[in-house]
Amino acid sequence: MEPELAVALPAAGAACATALRPRPRLALGLGALLGAGGLAAVVLSSPGAASDLLGITLSLSAPARSMLIVAALALAFVVVLAPQNAARSSLLRWGLAGLAGMAAIAVAPTLDVSVMVLLALVVLQAAGPGRRPYARRVRAPALAVVLLGLGLLFARMPGPPALERLGAVGLVAGLVAALGALPYMHEFDPEELTATSPIPWIAFVGPVVAVVVLTRARDLLPAAIGAMGAMLIGLGLLNIVWGCVASWRTELGAAAWRYSFISDWGLALCGFGLGLTEGWAGALLILFSILIGRLPLYLWSRQPLRDKIQTDRPINLVVAAALAGSAPFAGFTARILLLRGATALYWPLALVLAATLLLWVPSSLRLGRSLGMPKGRQLAGIMVTLALNVALGLYPQPLLSLAGL
C-alpha cells in the first residue's frame, strides 16, 4: 500500500493547501499532516517490493526512496525554518505537489509513465503565476519530455546499434534538459517566485528524475551504457567548468546561485557516468547535499540578495567552505568517492576531475557572502544545514545504505 500512499497523501496535502489558501494556518497544518503521512509511507515502504493494488504494479527502488526521504526532509526543513517574510503555506503547497509528482515518477511501473508524470509536473508548474508567459516557461522542461520520449522510442526500436545509441542520446539530453543544465538551460528570471522558477527542477525534482531515468536506462539500453556514461561525463565536465566560472563571474547574485547548482550537477553527472558503485555513491552524496544544503541556503539568500547585503562574518565563511566542497562537509567526501571511481575507471579522468574541483572556491566565497547577516530563524536554519552537511560528510554510510549502496 505504501507506494500508492506515498503519491496520494502529498497530493492530497497539496490539494488541501490549495483549497484552504484563504486560511493559511489550517492549510499549513493539514498539508503538513498529509505530507508527514506521505513521508511515513515512503519510509515504511520496502525498496523493490511491488504493490499491485490499483491494477498497476508500483514499486520504489532504494536510491529513489532515499532521494524521496531526503527531499521530504528538505521540504519540511525549508518550511519550518522559512524566512519570516516567506509564505510558508505557499512553500508547502508547491513542495507537496512536487513531492507527489516525484513519488509518482519514482513508483511508476515504466519509464514512459514517469515521463508522462514529469510532463504533468511541467504543465502544472508553468501554469502557476509568473513574470514570463506560459509558453516560454514550459518550453525548456517540455523539451526534456520530448527528448526522453524520443529516447524511449529509439531504445525500443529493433535495428542497428546506432538506434540504441540514439536512444541513449535522447535519455541523457532529456535528463539534462529536465534539470536545466548546460546546454539545455532554462530561462531564469531572478525576480521570479522560486516555486515557478527553474530552481525546483535543478534543486528539488531533478535528483529523483535523474535517479529514476538512469536506473531504468541501465535495463533499457544494456548495449549503450558506455556511450551513455561518456555523454554524462562529457556534459558533467562542461557543466562543472561553466557553472563554476559563471557562478563566480556573473553579475546577478541569484544567477550565481543558479550556476552553482549547475556546477554541482556537473559533478553528479560525472559520478553517474562513471557507472561504478563509488561514482553513484558520490553522485548521490552530491544530490543529498544539494537537497539539504544548497537549496535551503539559496532560499535564505533571496532576501539579502534583494537587499544587496554582503557580509564576511564567520558564518558566511563556514557556509562558503561547505559550498566549496571543503572538508569536513559532504562535498569533500563526495569528491573522494568520485576520484575513487574515476581512478578505478581511467586515471586521467581523475586528474581532470581533481583539477576542476578547485573551481568551486571563488564562487563559493561569493555565495557565502550573499547570505548577509543571518539572524534568528535563518541563523538557526543555516546552523542546522551546516551540521547536517558535516554529519553527511563525516559519516555518509547510513544514507548510502538507505540508497542500497
Binding site: 491494477g55 498497476i56 511501473p109 515504466t110 514512459d112 509513465v113 515521463v115 508522462m116 508524470v117 510532463l119 504533468a120 511541467v122 504543465v123 501554469a127 502557476g128 503565476p129 509568473g130 513574470r131 514570463r132 508567459p133 506560459y134 509558453a135 516560454r136 514550459v138 518550453r139 517540455a142 523539451l143 519530455v145 520530448v146 520520449g149 524520443l150 524511449l152 522510442l153 529509439f154 525500443r156 526500436m157 529493433p158 535495428g159 542497428p160 546506432a162 538506434l163
Partner: protein, 178 residues
C-alpha cells in the same frame, strides 16, 4: 489500416502545428488521438487504443470550448511550419521504416512523428492554449509509444489519457501576474 492510422496521426500533429485557433487545435488533437489509437488497435492493443482515443477526444472537446477564437489554420507566415511538418514526417518515416528493422513501422512512425510535432509546437513558444494542446498531444504520443515496450501498455495509455484531459482542462488564459 495501421498505415492509414499512422498517416492520420501525423496529419493531426501537423494540424496542431499549423493551427492557432481553438477549433483547429481541437481537430488536430482529436485526429492525432484517433490516429494513435488506431495504430495501437492495429498492433493488437485494443484497450490501449481505446484509452488513447477517449483521452484525446475528451481533451479535444475541452479545447474546442476554450482558447483563441476560430480555426486559425495556416495563417500568413506559416510556410516554415508547413515545411517543418513535412520534414518531421519524412525524418520519422526514415527512422521508423528504413533504419529500424522488423514489422510495425506504423507503430514506430506515429508516436515518433507526433512527439516531434507536439514538441515542435511547444518549442514555438505559442500562446498558452496552443501550448497546453500540444502538451496533451505529446502525452498521448508518449502513451502510444509505450506500445513498443515489452511490458503492458494499458496503464501508460490510461495515465496518458488522464493527463491529456487534465492538461486541456487547465485555463487557456494567462493567470494574473504573468
Amino acid at each position: 489500416m495501421s498505415e492509414a492510422a499512422a498517416f492520420a496521426a501525423w496529419l493531426g500533429g501537423a494540424i496542431l502545428v499549423l493551427a492557432d485557433g481553438r477549433r483547429g487545435l481541437a481537430v488536430g488533437l482529436a485526429l492525432m488521438a484517433a490516429g494513435l489509437g488506431g495504430v495501437a488497435y492495429a498492433a493488437g492493443e485494443q484497450l490501449t487504443g481505446a484509452a488513447l482515443l477517449a483521452g484525446g477526444v475528451v481533451a479535444a472537446a475541452l479545447r474546442w470550448r476554450s482558447g483563441p477564437e476560430g480555426w486559425g489554420l495556416m495563417q500568413p507566415g506559416s510556410t516554415p511550419r508547413i515545411v517543418l511538418t513535412v520534414v518531421i514526417g519524412l525524418v520519422a518515416l526514415y527512422f521508423a521504416a528504413s533504419l529500424a528493422s522488423g514489422d510495425g513501422a506504423a507503430v514506430r512512425f506515429a508516436p515518433m512523428a507526433c512527439i516531434a510535432l507536439a514538441g515542435a509546437r511547444l518549442l514555438q513558444g505559442a500562446e498558452r492554449g496552443a501550448a497546453l494542446t500540444a502538451a496533451s498531444g505529446l502525452v498521448l504520443a508518449l502513451g502510444a509509444g509505450s506500445v513498443l515496450g515489452s511490458s503492458g501498455s494499458l496503464p501508460a495509455a490510461v495515465v496518458a489519457a488522464v493527463i491529456a484531459t487534465g492538461t486541456s482542462a487547465l485555463p487557456a488564459a494567462e493567470p494574473h501576474g504573468a
